[in-house]
Symmetry: C2
Subunit: 468 residues, 2 copies
Amino acid sequence: MTAASSDLTPLLNPRSIAVIGATNRPGRAGRIIFEQLRRAAVPLFPVNPGESDVLGAPAYPDVKALPEGIDLAVIAIGAEGAVKAAEACGRKSIPHLIVVAGGFRESGPEGEALEARLAALPRRFGSRVLGPNTLGIFLPHSRLDTLFVEHGDKALARGGGAAFISQSGSVGVEALGLASNTGFGMRAFVGLGNACDLDEIDFLHHFADDDGTTCIAFYMESMGDGRRFLAAARKASLRKPVVALKAGRSAAGASAVVSHTGRLAGSDRVVSGAFRQFGVQRVMDDEALCDAAKTLSMLRPPKGNRVAVVTPAGGYGVMAADYTTLSRESVGLRMARLSPETENRIRNISLPYASSRNPVDLTASANDRMVGETLDALLNDPGVDLILCIAFFAPPAITDAMIDEIARRAVATDKPVIVFTQYGPFTEDYLRRFHRLGVVGFPSIQRAVRAARFLVERAGIIRRLNLP
Amino acid sequence: MTAASSDLTPLLNPRSIAVIGATNRPGRAGRIIFEQLRRAAVPLFPVNPGESDVLGAPAYPDVKALPEGIDLAVIAIGAEGAVKAAEACGRKSIPHLIVVAGGFRESGPEGEALEARLAALPRRFGSRVLGPNTLGIFLPHSRLDTLFVEHGDKALARGGGAAFISQSGSVGVEALGLASNTGFGMRAFVGLGNACDLDEIDFLHHFADDDGTTCIAFYMESMGDGRRFLAAARKASLRKPVVALKAGRSAAGASAVVSHTGRLAGSDRVVSGAFRQFGVQRVMDDEALCDAAKTLSMLRPPKGNRVAVVTPAGGYGVMAADYTTLSRESVGLRMARLSPETENRIRNISLPYASSRNPVDLTASANDRMVGETLDALLNDPGVDLILCIAFFAPPAITDAMIDEIARRAVATDKPVIVFTQYGPFTEDYLRRFHRLGVVGFPSIQRAVRAARFLVERAGIIRRLNLP
């Protein structure tokens, strides 16, 4: 019997991986996972009694036959076999196991008994278990990827600061898809599955200490140990933003949680109050979770809540002002009152029909230079805390060079600059272009203003948590 | 002096068009508009004193030289020249003019005087004026298109039922982009510009009577004659859905409206109350406007507000239930309670781990057939009014054939079926595939549930307006 370690390094940065159930048979999870893991620069040890080699790597007949010192075993066989293999891995002192199969607690009493055997592994052998019923982990920077379902263009999730921890495999996969669509740098994706051992708290501790992680994002349907989670979240939130989608808010949703995970969702109002108190930012759906993770991992919180808007299209300036000032959200924003100097500067660089008041309307006669110089004026105005830049490419004098005009200013300032862009079928491509240059952008005005709110909310949390 | 006609047929279905300012010079509005209009099967008459022909068509030196009987003149020259040309068109009894140029009321006293001369044209000559400061019109089914700015992939807006009338050119152009991204059939786009003569009410009357129009959508910043608009909207709403984005809701937004259009935005609360009373559905931004237009132009209102959800991903079932039941919106939705017979049917076609209760969770083991047969069961349940179908393509046994499984049921029933799909970078492509088969789909759960709300709201309006 060994003491289970709380160090997740062998799991998230393994030096060797055994794949139980690795196979040459196309389409099987054991094949997909093995193929994917080959892209990580880590020695792989396939285990399969029916194969002499898997994709050229010599196969081991069983876990016992494996060499010593393996860091991680990914177990990609059915529930009963998986439990036996996991116990064999325990005997072999493999410190970390990922159990992919479903058919455990979520499926009834027999599955519960099987899961109890997995849950006993840390105590019996010192092995930590991720899962069962999990997609596992995906770390773009090391190309470590055990996700066996299609998850969009992974190449676009090229690494970044957001650690994404999900109690639902599907929500995680869709989040990866959203991430790749519009640019969203991910540090790590972790699917918790049934969380019989490793849970949200373990990963919260890990990513709070990980310098490469700039924001921690959760999809949760239930909280195993709410108090411990909140205490850990508060500690993490002192260092970096923590954002959570806690589903099962309604009675109908909570009852659906039970059949999805076999856990109780908890009283929703209590959850909201506790999140607020412990510095966790709450969101309502996967899109908001991804938007928050993108924004909070890339931009610093502003000094205040005064928003300046610049637009080549008056109508969008009006909508931006509406969303900024009229929301029923708890986080308030205000339209900045520009200084006379700022208004003068804008008048000097724009055309006579433009409006130099906030929202600054450069009209469809705007060109790249006017947009850039207006940003300069707004960045220099001490009455402006955040800037919402509406980037349209339809006006005749606007070119793709505007992306650079915006980006070089946005990355050189502490004032958050958030872009809203729409460009017909090219919208996602343009958002990715902004993202590649380090600019946070969204394809809807409502989402862009919401992103500003996430930042102002974060600023409030920092102030509150740092109070004596 | 002739009486101005209220018949908009010569404008929207012209048999001949003069283009004042048509030119061979690349990049100029007069060139772009002329090139685009050549795609409509209508004789064109370019007017330009400096050219002998425009793109091969013999040019006329001035308006006076034009033949008699022209239906529509598109005037694509600067403000002062445009007013003179418009007066010449009036003398020539051309019944409809589109004045593209800006530099009128929105630009100060001189512009105001120029606009007053345009506004006098109906009285003086019987000519009706669209604009000034407008992009004009775009009718996909006849390829009549005067929009001179890039507006995404127009080919995708292949025609449909939604008439889109906008006081802002940019908002209209972006809406066209949104339309083309995910599929959104447009009957007509009309940019009102400064609306010195033809306004929202004229087009409301026209499209209310037009059998090809199944929904009328407005972007408005101000209401010229609120009472007349509301009376016309009520009449139209008895026949088809009317939806409006009225921007300038906040004080900041309303003050921005003044500088954008030179008009007052009106008291916001009064507007909301009046809209409700007169059967106009109000939305908050351009995305919601497009979503409402798409939904309301393609689906009939349901009998009640009971929503059934089917999903291959439990987490999304939970979020759907949350959004359905917990919204602060004025339109209430409920999660349907499925009949024992329905639950039995679903149990018989799904796997043991699936949940046959609403939200129906087929799990990641779902296949195309299970999704189709679950839809059959839900469509047959009298306790279900609308169906939200979550279509993911990540589960291994789901193929593209699921699109057809869903589509052939969705188009054969009066119960609205709304799809939510996400598929990484392929999301928009899949939404278009659904759209081509007549299925209404959205890329976010929040937008899909909101679409259900638009339909239930419409059902309530029909009930209320038809009360004695």
